[in-house]
Amino acid sequence: MIRNSFEIVDTTLRDGEQSAGVVFSEEEKIKIVLALDKANVKWIEAGIPAMGNEECETLKKMLKLPIKSHLIAWNRANLNDIKASIACGFQFIHVSLPVSDLHIKYKLQKSRGWVLNQLKTCLAYLKSYGVTIIVGAEDASRANPEFFLEYANIAASYGAVRIRYADTVGCLDHFMTHDKIENIIKRSPIPIEVHAHNDFGLALANTMAAYRAGAEFASVTITGIGERAGNASMEETVASLRQFYHYDCGIQLHMLPVLAEMAVKASGRTLFSYKPLVGNLAYHAF
């Protein structure tokens, strides 16, 4: 019997738009936010204020919308980026650093100690503004679990409400995901959010495996749009939670095809006829 709650974090407007070649207009973004709110999606990763003034203006307009959903600003862990999010008026702020040695060595060209210090610097700054902090751990699936926990402990000590466990390159299957998340959850001081990528078509299965292992949040995108082969799709995640685990995560099912159509149109893509649940040859569960 699985007892943990499981909340959906939509990242269509951040990770979805980061997909190569995709640009959402301001009007499309606002429509998507309103539809996500109508669908009862509690958490929406709205964008990256560090992208520049034009992006910030759009994000400020989103923040003024009369919605229940919490809008989150995504940030690299540096103070300039974070200041842009604070200046926009965000109350929910995501700060991300890579945690695998591969990323620390080759991308950051720093050390584990530098990562931990950088996190502390950013979180201390955020704490002084009294915002809700969410911490991201990029490439967590290839990281040393002890280091991930050390990182999670720092996040918790500054009041972060959850930590994102990102399978950045989609290198896990569902068995590995379950084992890794289960192992971490036993010792993590804060709830885990799973963030799966679909490089081998396993993002949904890995998201469900994380739920079974005790994760309490999942970041997903509408139709799975995202970097490379994409992310776990919202519609498959919501339907699978109901089908396999009889769990209602609160999302309004009738809105899922609406959202799918909206995201596909805005991204300039076409929906594969065979795509589960929303393709025109698929079984429609909603």
Partner: protein, 367 residues
């Protein structure tokens, strides 16, 4: 990364069946598809008798018939017809459920198939939903009629991958003939369920290229490449032509492959965002779990709204234009504005134009 598993994997194809369902009957195209599929651990190609009848018998007296199994219902008429059409391998397909007389109907069909000289495969397309005791009732029939293989189906995709693993592992312990797994993709779990079947010890699994079918199937490319790259299974065939092979097969049926299709889509090794491109330029392993050429694709960098200065400088170096960090920052603003206004990436031609404009603005200083 991941567990090593070096068991043999055999693929049962359902791509051709979907192509026939769509009404594409060109024998040359079907032969081309079969010859391509043979490169990817192909065991059999399954085709519904219904589609064969509609196709006008394109498989008659064909040497490839030995690689094809004809799917029939528990119907003596269909079993006889399959034989008349030249098929020696048949799959008798049925569902367990409320019909309590299914076992006697099935026995009649098995007897007819046996008398007709068929090699018999038995598919229970919802078997995964039933406990081993229920499927255990089939064992005497399997033995009595010499069923070659029992196909455990989850055609509606109703089982999660952990349940699939547990049930198939239990079945493998008790069943007296080889087991095959057939999983549908209604919820998007077919790849994971099929990997669960393989991990439980099943050798034969049903797939289709890109998961096509009604209902959908596990995409062949995902199952094979997950086994090869996540499980380091060296028995899985090389994928260096996989993308073009899959695209060729689908194109024969007029199916356009989505650019973002996992493993084989043309854009799964495209990178735009500043963070990712910066990483890729430092070490591709940072953002790619396998090399593009391992599936027959190429990496490419897209310049657009999410680009950063590192990708811009790299791109201009490729175009033989020099660019300082400061000017890259300025130029990036223009690039982003163009991408936003046109709602798509910036082309090389546009980049050249933006570069020229910037040169004029700064009076050719330092560029």
């Amino acid at each position: 990364m991941g567990c090593k598993m070096n068991r043999k994997i055999s693929i049962v194809d359902h791509t051709v069946n979907e192509v026939l369902r769509l009404g594409y009957y060109n024998p040359d195209d079907i032969h081309l598809m079969l010859s391509i599929l043979k490169k990817y651990a192909l065991d059999f190609v399954d085709i519904s008798l219904h589609h064969v009848e509609k196709s006008g018998g394109i498989f008659e007296a064909d040497d490839l018939c030995n690689r094809i199994r004809c799917i029939v219902n528990c119907s003596e008429r269909e079993i006889v017809l399959a034989k008349e059409l030249g098929f020696s391998n048949i799959i008798i397909n049925c569902s367990l459920g409320s019909n309590i007389s299914i076992y006697s109907i099935l026995e009649s069909a098995l007897k007819k198939a046996c008398d007709s000289g068929h090699t018999i495969y038995l598919c229970i397309d919802n078997a995964i939903e039933f406990a081993t005791e229920v499927t255990g009732k089939l064992s005497p029939l399997v033995v009595k009629y010499g069923v070659e293989r029992l196909i455990i189906g989850d055609i509606d995709g109703n089982s999660d991958p952990f349940t699939t693993y547990d049930r198939l592992r239990d079945l493998l312990k008790s069943e007296q003939c080889p087991i095959e797994y057939l999983g549908g993709n209604e919820y998007g779990m077919a790849t994971a369920n099929t990997l669960s079947a393989l991990k439980a010890g099943v050798e034969y699994v049903a797939t289709s290229v890109s998961g096509i079918g009604v209902p959908g199937m596990a995409p062949m490319e995902e199952v094979l490449m997950a086994a090869r790259h996540l499980w380091k299974n060296q028995l899985v065939p090389d994928g260096s032509n996989l993308a073009i092979d899959c695209k060729t097969i689908l194109s024969k049926a007029g199916i356009l492959l989505p650019d973002e299709k996992a493993v084989i889509g043309s854009r799964v090794f495209a990178h735009e965002s500043g963070i990712h491109v910066d990483g890729i330029l430092k070490n591709p392993e940072l953002y790619e779990i396998m090399k593009p050429e391992e599936v027959g694709l190429s990496r490419y960098l897209v310049i657009g709204k999410h680009s950063g200065t590192a990708s811009l400088m790299y791109k201009f170096r490729q175009m033989n234009f020099s660019l300082s960090q400061d000017n890259a920052t300025e130029l990036l603003k223009m690039v982003r504005n163009v991408a936003i206004s046109q709602k798509k990436p910036v082309t090389d031609l546009q980049l050249e134009l933006i570069y020229s404009l910037q040169m004029e603005l700064v009076g050719y200083k330092e560029l």
